[in-house]
Amino acid sequence: MADPMRIRAQAAGDKTTVRVLMSHEMETGQRKDSAGKPIPAWFIQEVTTAHNGKTVMTAQWGPSVAKNPFLQFNVKGAKAGDKITVSWVDNKGDKRTDEATVS
């Protein structure tokens, strides 16, 4: 199973800034290994974020998002103590969900 994400969610005024780091290779499929064999593409395809259980944003990614991806976005109306959930699914079907509390 994939390593946990790091999620920081900080409220300021009427919005919360969410910063996420995900542990993933994000292999492009364009590279070759030392033996000259192509390394298959392996990347996060879909990201889903929820505020107190309600989906607020989804994203689709391609393999040109950088390794160990970073994502930042702002959730309207989220306040300290609320839950922010982030999930991802990669092209091999591997997935990961982590949760953070807004501070």
Binding site: P38, Q60, W61
Partner: protein, 152 residues
């Protein structure tokens, strides 16, 4: 829950399939817009996502550095203050496939997203706003990718 061993076995199978098929990976998600992610131009990517011809707009913002010390990690952001934005896209003109990311906007989030992309070489990057009325508006910025380190 899968064990680590099962997961590895599963991954190996998928990798094997990919290797023999020699194709872009089969998507685990029906919603993943494969045609858009295979597009070679901004116009083709926008079209694959159901939009019209892209037009430049001062209401769309692309953020990023002027120079990237390394193309493997280039911080970029897309934002707009326009009402009626459905999706924000990030694209890199000279990457093998131009589209890097699609963010689906709802009323619960600001239309303002930051991530990091890979760039194979110096290139224009685009932030594209896909509007509810089918309009496609974009902003562009050139980012220089430098060669660094000892190079060995």
């Amino acid at each position: 829950m899968q064990t680590r061993r099962e997961m590895l076995a599963h991954s190996a199978t998928v990798a094997g399939l990919l290797a023999t098929a020699g194709l872009l990976p089969q998507t685990a998600l029906a919603a993943w817009p494969q045609a858009a992610f295979e597009a070679k131009t901004m116009a083709d990517a926008a079209k694959a996502l159901g939009g019209g011809a892209p037009a430049p707009s001062g209401d769309v913002t692309i953020t990023g550095p002027d120079i990237a010390e390394n193309g493997a990690v280039v911080p970029v952001g897309a934002a707009t203050t326009l009402p009626g934005v459905k999706q924000l896209l990030l694209l890199v003109e000279k990457n093998p496939s131009v589209l890097a990311a699609v963010f689906n906007v709802t009323d619960a989030v600001e239309a303002n997203f930051n991530t990091r992309v890979k760039m194979g070489q110096s290139s224009n990057v685009y932030a594209v706003a896909m509007m509810a009325d089918g309009k496609v508006l974009y902003a562009q910025k050139e980012i220089k990718v430098t060669l660094g380190g000892c190079g060995g």
